[in-house]
């Protein structure tokens, strides 16, 4: 359950804090959540990746839908990709990597000692 808790917390905080803070707030959010909510490296990384990635993608998707993709189609002409779905996925990956690595760093700092290989996927 910690996985979901962390994921939801990272996603929600990223979404709302990004409205008022610079873009790299996601790195701080990821780091703190990784630090506070324990888990294995893998699960922490995945929850950070998905948390930020989904929140960026969701907001991009919302803006794009409201704009009927008018502007993203113009921007696509400047990029080596041709489809706004790919663009939104790319945004998810960029945000996701920041969320993933920052929460991983937070979690590694917290872990008192290596847990070995035990422990299930969902902790």
């Amino acid at each position: 359950m910690k996985f979901f808790l962390r994921l939801i917390l990272i996603g929600t905080l990223s979404y709302f804090l990004s409205m008022i803070a610079p873009w790299w707030i996601i790195v701080i959010v990821g780091f703190l959540c990784g630090l506070l909510i324990p888990g294995s490296s893998m699960t922490v990384f995945v929850s950070g990746f998905l948390g930020v990635g989904i929140s960026w993608m969701a907001y991009a998707w919302k803006l794009d839908a409201e704009n009927e993709s008018r502007f993203s189609n113009i921007i696509l002409e400047l990029l080596p990709i041709s489809d706004s779905t790919i663009l939104i996925s790319l945004i998810g990956v960029v945000g996701g990597l920041c969320g993933g690595f920052s929460s991983l760093t937070g979690s590694l700092l917290r872990q008192p000692k290596p847990k070995g290989t035990s422990g299930g996927y969902y902790q």
């Binding site: 990004s18 409205m19 610079p22 873009w23 790299w24 790195v27 780091f31 490296s41 960026w56 907001y59 991009a60 803006l63 794009d64 409201e66 704009n67 008018r70 502007f71 993203s72 113009i74 921007i75 002409e77 400047l78 790319l90 945004i91 960029v94 945000g95 990597l97 920041c98 690595f101 920052s102 991983l104 760093t105 590694l108 700092l109 872990q111 000692k113 290596p114």
Partner: protein
């Protein structure tokens, strides 16, 4: 191991954040740029206009209302002039901030600071032409002598800054995000720079050094054939028979020779094709007895557009028209009583003086029998992603030494000082501010007495039926030939002396012909007592306009619009018959015969979807290139003769030595070149057609309204419009009618129509971006909403109320 993991993960996180926050090459910082909360998504606007209904603005003295109409033109209603110009600055920045600032970077020679080392030479060029110093002097002069008009500039700056300080990264125009920088504070100085930028575009063009080179290569006799000052059949701005009722100042013509230094490199010139048309007809020629004024400046076609349309109202002024983002007030427009328009008054206003230094220290230079001191200024040019560059510029009393051992001379000991009227302090801001309030002819004459440059042919019309034109600006009195070639800086008789007194400048009020017009042609005939030289007069648009105006009567607004959009190709009408008849003796193949037949039936109109204009243009280009091929292998800077003179020579001197192709043993005449180029044109068009299909004129010409950064996604290409170079509808590839306006005045009423190839918004993410381009191309002018009370008009889509902050 654990520590290692922590460090690794930490470093990866930091590095990732850093990379995504950094611009790499031309790729914007991806984290910032792609974040939907901050980056480009934030520039996507769903509504054409999204501003708050109420806004508190620090510095306002009283409430101001801004009514936006359906064209998104702001109608600013303020209770005093300070608030009026402050809100003009605020609203203009709302629509055009990035463009306003970018123009200043360009003029100040700071492009490499944003765009990197590639722009360094461009920056050095601009700094070496002394514009910033001219702007600084103008600012000082205005501050000291004209505090009231200067206050408009400071109020405007306050407004721009109020807008800038309301922004955070996510609100920046998209171009800031692309290039990854933040807007700077706006200063009054930048407004003065902006006006110098206009001088740079419109009054810096000349060919003095090229003339010197040509004189050196071919001698005086051939020079005069290549570059004659006057040819037959000119149609000057001043109606024939205009009397010059004054005693002119007569400069002393020195004896001796010019320095004949060959120059290879050269500072880039402003686009020589910039021009404009304006024509005014009085009540005797119109259908309803009112006066009509038409104006269109033909400048670079860019997005965001060079013009921003606004209506400014306060108890002191009620004026509307096109404004320059960055300057308070209206530049081209109308008020309740009068209307005015500009076309560029070309004239050689830049001269070059060869400087002889006493020694290699370059601290003193020769002037008659004396040695004068130089002043050295070190320009610091910041370079993005590179080292700061320091350029030492030496100033003489003429002006900056633009060309020297450090710049554009191949390290030869050549030192050329530049003298340009734009180096001098000037009061254009005052002139325009007075003109915005002018009520009659006398006010108009008075207002532009303060105008220095870039010199303009200023047409005028009033509700009382007066029409007029004055050619205003600061013009040195020159002796015959002065400044046409490189001058000798050590010889005081080569220096400029007096300036033409205002009342000696060309002007005419209510001429018998019932109209006035200007299109960058010669201003007067040869009886004018001053030497007024330029290398680049217009020979065609002026004649077409005057031909038409002479024959037109019962003129209505739509006729003025039609004349502005006239596509008659005067050049073709005067050269094609001769070119076609040169083919009489030549056997043609099928393809050539078809080409020939089509051109023989053509009526010389360059309509957008016709193919004949493309055929003619291609043939004509190839022919021109063949005639002047001698210029291609010269090592020094030169320019090829004008098309008008080329046609004159083909007609009157078909055996002129330049028509002979020296690489063949045969001696060619003009006719031979016409035949050879015809064959090439027919062949290459056939090949082109095979590959690309049809070649209608608009595709061949490819008029593009290009984004200032050249980004194709923000650019409108292949706009379907006819016309072209030297045609009244001057829509060429990259320049053309940048604002079209027709004003009707009479019975105490002023009505106006206008259109420009752009949009009020500069944001490519706004649904209204570039929305006027198609209307512009299709002659669909918009009626401009004007009056003292527009608030209740149905065309007002939104009203914003700005109040002083408590």
């Amino acid at each position: 191991m654990r520590t290692f993991k922590i460090i690794l993960s930490f470093v990866v996180t930091l590095a990732l954040t850093f990379v995504l926050n950094t611009k790499i090459g031309s790729t914007p910082p991806l984290g910032k740029f792609l974040s939907p909360f901050h980056g480009f998504w934030q520039n996507a606007e769903n509504e054409r206009l999204s501003v708050p209904e109420h806004l508190e603005l620090e510095g306002l003295q009283a409430p101001v209302k801004v009514h936006f109409d359906d064209m998104l033109i702001p109608h600013i209603f303020a209770e005093n002039e300070h608030d009026l110009y402050m809100v003009q600055g605020y609203i203009t920045a709302y629509h055009r901030l990035w463009q306003m600032e970018m123009q200043q970077f360009k003029t100040a020679g700071r492009l490499s600071e944003l765009l990197g080392p590639d722009l360094l030479d461009k920056d050095r060029e601009l700094r070496r032409s002394g514009m910033a110093e001219g702007a600084r002097l103008s600012q000082e002069l205005m501050m000291k002598e004209e505090p009231e008009a200067y206050a408009n500039v400071t109020a405007y700056a306050e407004g721009v800054n109020a807008y800038i300080s309301s922004l955070s990264y996510k609100d920046y125009p998209i171009e800031y995000k692309f290039l990854d920088y933040a807007p700077e504070n706006w200063t009054p100085f930048k407004t003065f720079l902006q006006l110098k930028q206009m001088a740079n575009d419109l009054s810096r063009d000349e060919r003095d050094l090229e003339h010197t080179n040509a004189l050196k290569i071919w001698g005086a006799e051939v020079f005069d054939i290549l570059y004659p000052e006057r040819l037959p059949d000119l149609d000057p701005i001043m109606p024939t028979g205009t009397k010059w009722e004054f005693d002119p100042l007569v400069p002393d013509q020195p004896t001796g020779t010019y320095p004949l230094l060959a120059t290879r490199g050269e500072i880039s010139k402003p686009n020589p094709q910039y021009g404009s048309n304006s024509f005014v007809v009085n009540g005797n020629k119109t259908a309803n007895g009112k006066t009509l004024l038409a104006n269109e400046p033909d400048l670079g076609l860019n997005l965001p557009s060079i013009w921003y349309v606004a209506h400014l109202n306060s108890p002191e002024v009620n004026v509307m028209g096109s404004t320059l983002p960055g300057s308070p007030g209206v530049v081209l427009g109308f008020n309740d009583s009068i209307a005015w328009g500009f076309t560029n008054a070309k004239r050689d206003l830049v001269d070059w003086f060869s400087i002889e230094f006493r020694n290699s220290k370059r601290e003193e230079y020769k002037y008659d029998n004396k040695w004068l001191k130089t002043k050295k200024v070190v320009e610091e040019i910041k370079v993005r992603g590179g080292e700061t560059f320091y350029d030492t510029i030496i100033y003489t009393h003429y002006g900056p030494i633009a060309y020297d051992q450090a710049f554009q001379t191949d390290k030869k000991p050549i030192n050329l000082a530049m003298r340009w009227t734009a180096h001098d302090p000037s009061k254009e801001i005052l002139a325009l501010s007075l003109m915005n309030k002018a009520e009659n002819y006398e006010d108009y004459v008075e207002a532009f007495s303060y105008y220095t440059g870039p010199p303009q042919n200023m047409s005028f019309a009033s509700t009382t039926g007066d029409i007029a034109i004055w050619i205003n600006g600061k013009f040195p009195v020159k002796w015959e030939g002065q400044g046409k070639f490189l001058l000798d800086g050590s010889n005081s008789t080569h220096e400029w002396g007096d300036y033409m007194p205002r009342e000696h400048l060309y002007h005419v009020k209510n001429p018998k012909q019932n109209f006035v017009s200007s299109a960058n042609q010669h201003p007067g005939d040869s009886t004018y007592p001053y030497y007024d030289y330029d290398y680049n007069w217009e020979y065609y648009r002026n004649r077409r306009i005057n031909d038409r105006l002479k024959s037109m009567s019962n003129i209505k607004v739509k006729d003025m619009i039609q004349l502005q959009n006239d596509n008659f190709n005067y050049i073709a009408s005067e050269s094609l018959p001769m070119m076609l008849s040169s083919l009489d003796s030549m056997p043609l193949n099928l393809n050539e015969q078809a080409f020939y037949d089509q051109l023989s039936d053509w009526d010389y109109f360059n309509e957008a979807d016709m193919t004949e204009p493309s055929m003619y243009q291609l043939w004509s280009n190839l022919l021109y290139k063949k005639i002047w091929d001698e210029f291609e292998d010269q090592e020094v800077a030169l320019y090829t003769p004008k098309i008008y003179n080329t046609i004159y020579l083909m007609t009157n001197k078909p055996d002129f030595e330049f028509f002979d192709d020296k690489s063949t043993s045969k001696i060619e005449s003009a006719g031979d070149l016409m035949r050879i180029s015809f064959r090439e044109a027919a062949d290459s068009l056939a090949i082109w057609e095979d590959k690309n299909g049809e070649y209608p004129w608009y595709k061949f010409k490819n008029t593009s309204i290009k984004h200032l950064l050249g980004l194709p996604a923000f650019t409108k290409s292949e706009v379907k419009i006819g016309g072209g170079r030297h045609i009244v509808n001057a829509a060429s590839e990259r320049d053309g009618p940048s604002w079209r306006m027709v004003v009707e005045l009479g019975d105490g009423k002023v009505e106006a129509w206008g259109i420009y190839p752009g949009s009020q918004t500069g944001n490519p993410g706004n649904p209204s971006y570039a929305e006027f381009v198609e209307k512009w191309a299709n002659q669909k002018y918009e009626k401009l909403l004007f009056g003292k009370n527009v608030e209740s008009n149905e065309r007002i889509i939104f009203t914003q109320k700005l109040t002083p902050s408590k």
